[in-house]
């Protein structure tokens, strides 16, 4: 089957083919979700090579689970997200979580501000520290909806929430983060 044929297939069709042993169908799923999974991992990891390694591991774990996988109304990418989150927990076991936006992003922001002759908009170290103080669900909704720029629908599907609940969560999360960055969350 050609790559063009595969790219026209739905996730459900590709999953069925992959379960039947057609590994290239799983390769198509990999190509389809490589970027969002990588970017999610990269948003939480300083080293891009670590994010690349973990991206492949996410899909390898998903492939191993494939014989048991059943469509229960949630997108396949939401399952990949659950695996990615779990792998991050393992990755950071016994270590401080990395915040991919501390040093590197602050420097980039500084450089951009210098280039455009404007002041840096936010103190990214303060943002980074404030982010780590947020509850996990607040961090996640900000990552998916704001940092990665997912639509509310996509973010809701990954988070396992309704779109309405995701909007409410985002509203609360942004308010908390901004208050914390401004130092008036006491």
């Amino acid at each position: 089957m050609s790559e063009t044929d595969l790219s026209a297939r739905s996730d459900a069709q590709l999953l069925a083919m992959a379960k039947a042993g057609e590994r290239h169908a799983f390769g198509e799923l990999y190509s389809r979700y490589l970027t969002p999974i990588y970017r999610y991992l990269r948003s939480r990891m300083l080293d891009p090579r670590d994010a690349e390694d973990l991206t492949e591991t996410v899909f390898l774990r998903a492939y191993r689970a494939l014989p048991r996988y059943q469509d229960r109304g949630w997108p396949f990418s939401a399952f990949l997200y659950q695996i990615a989150r779990r792998l991050l927990v393992d990755h950071f076991r016994g270590r401080r979580p990395e915040v991919a936006w501390s040093e590197a992003h602050a420097q980039a922001d500084d450089a951009q501000a210098l280039e455009h002759g404007v002041e840096r908009t936010l103190d990214w170290e303060a943002v980074s520290a404030a982010m780590t103080r947020l509850p996990d669900e607040h961090q996640e909704v900000i990552r998916l909806r704001v940092i990665l720029g997912f639509s509310t629908r996509e973010a809701a599907a990954w988070l396992g929430r309704t779109e309405g609940a995701t909007r409410v969560l985002l509203h609360r999360a942004l308010r908390s983060l901004r208050r914390s960055v401004r130092g008036d969350d006491g």
Binding site: R23, H24, Y30, S31, L34, T35, Y38, R39, R42, S43, P48, E52, T55, L60, Y63, R64, A65, L66, R68, Q70, G73, W74, P75, F79, Q82, I83, R86, V89, F92, R93, G94, A100, H105, D109, T121, W124, D136, I142, R145, V146, I147, L148, G149, T152, A156, A157, G160, R161, T162, E163, G164, A165, R167, L169, L170, H171, L174, R175, L177, R178
Partner: protein, 259 residues
């Protein structure tokens, strides 16, 4: 501007404003000043922190590499029988903890799953936290966090294919939800947590081994029931009117439905 200042802050208008600003437009009408500021803040976060796309070389090479890894997978997974020493390990770790009072061990146990060496340390530390949390509201907030933690453990076991621990993890999840439901004062959004639990359980159930599906369905029933009890409490209805046998099963929220 006076009219703007009277606009209520709203998750919906914030959501729309973020989309508009990201698309290069103005926040749009009907956005309160507070939400406009939050939308600008969100867009600042996006512009500064959005991770880059994967490297072209990685995108080009990794599908073939993954397929090779898949092809090389034997599929045979060795069954690990815990050794007597491994079974004793949590007790040994606890003794060491008591002797050395190591905060590092407690910290390292934070991500332990049932069956892991440090799991006993993690649970002991949680018990200490519960018993030393006096304020009712703080205690209820902690119990929500612990119910979340039991869910994370359940998800971790499923994702890692460790089905032998799933039944125990489900029983612990049920106990955590029961403890939460028994609280008089509940933090805002507790019901929403349990609604989220149901959805996550459905997501991971999709790939759970057959022997674990029943246990996960049990956990899912626990979260659904708990959600209903908490919602009833929030509305001032007596929880006793919502005993498990009396609660009608509700459908899971679909991922693309709105509230």
């Amino acid at each position: 501007m006076m009219a703007d200042e009277l606009l209520p802050t709203s998750p919906d208008s914030l959501d729309r404003a973020i989309d508009r600003i990201l698309a290069g437009d103005e926040p749009g009408p009907g956005v309160s000043p507070e939400d406009a500021v939050l939308a600008d803040f969100a867009v600042d976060l996006n512009r500064a922190l959005a991770p880059e796309l994967p490297r072209a070389a990685f995108v080009a090479a990794s599908p073939a590499r993954l397929l090779r890894r898949i092809a090389g997978e034997s599929g045979a997974r060795s069954s690990v029988r815990p050794s007597p020493l491994r079974r004793l390990a949590p007790a040994l770790v606890l003794v060491l903890l008591l002797v050395f009072g190591s905060a590092g061990v407690v910290s390292a146990s934070a991500t332990a799953l049932p069956g892991d060496t440090l799991y006993g340390v993690k649970r002991t530390w949680e018990a200490v936290r519960i018993h030393t949390t006096v304020r009712a509201q703080s205690r209820a907030t902690l119990l929500v966090v612990l119910a979340d933690e039991r869910l994370e453990e359940l998800v971790g076991l499923i994702v890692e294919g460790r089905s032998e621990g799933v039944a125990y993890a489900v029983s612990q999840y049920q106990a955590a939800v029961d403890a939460l439901l028994a609280e008089e004062e509940l933090p805002e959004g507790a019901a929403e947590h349990l609604s989220h639990h149901s959805a996550v359980l459905m997501q991971v159930q999709a790939a759970a081994p057959p022997e674990a599906v029943g246990a996960i369905e049990t956990a899912s029933g626990t979260s659904s029931h708990g959600q209903q009890v908490l919602e009833a409490k929030e509305q001032g209805i007596s929880p006793s009117e919502l005993a498990p046998g009396q609660v009608k099963k509700t459908e899971q929220a679909a991922p693309d439905t709105d509230e």
